[in-house]
Symmetry: C2
Subunit: 430 residues, 2 copies
């Protein structure tokens, strides 16, 4: 495919107009101001369009889209105990498949090409990921509430199964990460065993950390140190880690994460909606830590729209710090693309550059909300919305274009999700 005379976000995250971008197989093979001699097949007219790196949703729980609108306006403990846990108790692989398909559709329609997914029912989730051709780092979150032995824990066994069956499959689109659900949902023996086991295996570890104030403070009371220090001391940080939320981390935590080259994923919408607080993303960015962006699940967001998340990530720190000149649109665009790819360990994704994977989205500038053209990057971050996304491509294959999904039948999946929700609600009430 050849994108002809299209605006692009270049490898330095500057805007360039009237460019030619050639895609062959799963890679970007040509970027230039002149039409290439080589034939790239379909020619795509780039008039008033911008090619951006596909967005990377670095923290979500895709089957939880089934719970959208179901558990709302409740304090976190009631949200979890009265609503989320009883609902999840009725899920299975088949139901998780439908939830994931719905999530992938929403993500593709808003320009997201890859996501880091923490959940269970892996065979259902991965089936959906394969079918929809999405790019996913999946992890089976591990929690432990009783004593046990690491390699005999069912969640550990499931992770090892996932690695055996799915890691680096589908042209590398599917990867498996390790995951400790969080400090507060694990016993110390598991945290230490997890670190011992994973520290030299070369996998990524995905963890919820310091999401709520009480979680952070309780850890300090229990262990005399913060969750970050606990994970550091347990060698968990010796693997490449991805810490979601980090609303309540302290300066000393930032130093530890920086030292160990960990990534942080901020989820501003979910943290607001659940009343957890506001992550100091400006401080994290300034520390040099790789900061990515995620939506968290559609049960706490309530969408999976990375453009809306980018908007929030751009304006929220300014308002909270009374500082309109922090966290630039370019910072946010990187958070939502290349930083997410780095957090996933995908070093050939997230940038429009020759030999990088062709994970791309096209934004049309035709909407009234994207005029005038004074600054296209400002417009993309502050003004674009998912309706402006008119094409999404993963590994060089168009999966969404002009409202049409190539791999998901939204009407069928949506109505199946409605059926599942009704069944689950009935089952809960029995």
């Amino acid at each position: 495919m050849l994108f002809e005379k299209i605006g692009i976000i270049d490898e330095n995250f500057d805007f360039k107009k009237d460019m030619y971008v050639g895609v062959k197989d799963d890679r970007i093979c040509y970027i230039g101001t002149q039409k290439p001699e080589e034939n790239y097949g379909r020619v795509y007219d780039g008039t008033r369009k911008v090619l951006i790196p596909g967005l990377v949703n670095a923290h979500t729980h895709s089957p939880m889209t089934l719970l959208r609108g179901y558990s709302e306006n409740l304090p976190l403990d009631r949200w979890l105990n009265e609503k989320v846990f009883p609902f999840e108790d009725k899920l299975n692989c088949d139901r998780a498949y439908y939830g994931t398909m719905l999530s992938v559709a929403e993500m593709l329609s808003s320009g997201t090409t890859a996501f880091s997914d923490m959940y269970f029912f892996q065979d259902g989730v991965i089936k959906a990921v394969k079918e929809s051709k999405a790019k996913t780092n999946f992890c089976r979150s591990i929690s432990s509430f009783t004593d046990g032995e690491f390699l005999k824990e069912s969640r550990v066994i499931e992770t090892l199964d996932a690695i055996k069956n799915y890691h680096n499959t589908e042209n590398g689109r599917i990867r498996i990460d390790w995951s400790l659900h969080s400090e507060y949902t694990n016993m110390l023996w598991m945290i230490e065993a997890f670190g011992d086991y994973t520290k030299d295996k070369g996998f990524i570890t995905h963890i919820h950390m310091s999401e709520t104030k009480s979680e952070h403070e309780n850890c300090k009371k229990k262990y005399g140190k913060t969750p970050a220090k606990l994970f550091y001391d347990s060698k968990i940080l010796d693997s490449k880690c991805l810490f979601a939320h980090c609303v309540w981390i302290e300066d000393s935590d930032i130093e530890l994460l920086k030292e160990k080259n960990a990534s942080i994923v901020t989820c501003p919408a979910s943290n607001l909606k659940l009343g957890s607080g506001v992550c100091d993303s400006n401080k994290i960015l300034n520390s040099g830590i790789n900061l990515a962006l995620g939506t968290d699940s559609a049960s706490s967001n309530n969408g999976l729209d990375m453009l809306r998340e980018m908007y929030l990530a751009a304006i929220l720190p300014k308002g909270i710090n009374n500082a309109p000149d922090i966290v630039s649109p370019k910072d946010v665009l990187k958070m939502a693309t290349v930083n997410g790819a780095v957090a996933q360990g995908r070093y050939d994704c997230g940038i429009i550059k020759e030999n990088y994977k062709a994970d791309l989205a096209v934004i049309s500038l035709d909407s009234p909300s994207l005029y005038p053209d004074f600054d296209v990057i400002n417009n993309i971050v502050y003004s674009a919305e998912k309706s402006d996304v008119i094409l999404t491509m993963v590994d060089g294959e168009v999966l969404y274009e002009n409202g049409e999904f190539k791999t998901v039948d939204v009407e069928k999946i949506g109505s199946e999700c409605n059926k599942i929700v009704n069944e689950v609600v009935r089952e809960i009430s029995l």
Copy 2:
């Protein structure tokens, strides 16, 4: 027009499905569960669609859409002095007309049927409002930096002209309000003369108030009282007032505004983006004051999308107050509709009710982001985006449907806006 078997937000802001809503001329004439016998003309299939009251953007500056993306990531004083003021200095009625047309298009495409607009170049703005058939409360903001005489001030004369020429025209779609720009842009003589003049005229007064901390604190230093108290003492509150922002108001201010039946318009996105802070909308709602919602201008937002603003209004107070159970979706839906209409003095708008004006928007539930259907009001507030708006009707006339604008040629207006921006930037540099 007859909406057939459509979901609606009823007059109590509850969701009802499979309803019939008949519109004749500019009014809602029938609401029922049965098909009416009367012929309402076009029949609209409501399958998987929801009729909501048209959204009311209760505080904006529509010509400033010309500045979208132009003045970004700067502290407020530099934003204003280095960018906004020099740009506005080059505007005129013709240029304001194009900016307003672009704004109206964006608002219609996101379900907004009415807006309260504070600006100048009234003949240009009103020309656009007439042509686009939008519903607008326009006010010419008054500021004063030297001594003078109320009725001889050019801005007062312009307001009187606007009232004479435009108030209650176009089937009442256009109304003129009075406007004091703010405390900090006016001398005391003007504030007092304004109150004296307007107190018994029966108009609405639209004012920026306590937007930034420094503005609020400086007023207290200068006058020994808050802006709200100053306006109260100057009899300005004896008219029905609409105060935009109110980020820094105090408990005693809330009491004064409540006593005088004033409205507040919160603009959460703009307040964040300009680093002004966060309005305590939960406290205002609990006080019983009529709280409406606005986008402010596209120069500080950077959009005019009330759905995005609703989302922010719903999640922001929860995060700031660490309280996920405050400011319900229903509260927010009222803020964005009927409360805005009340703030505009339009008591027959903002609710889906017989004999009310047919200012309506249709939201399609077909997008993957709006499945499952567990709670439609939660989904509208937390998950719907402007692409889900498929029809917008003002005074019974369809002005936007499925991406098509009936009264605005977006391509032409957009390209004209681009031309204007280029001209202005060139003129500034001369």
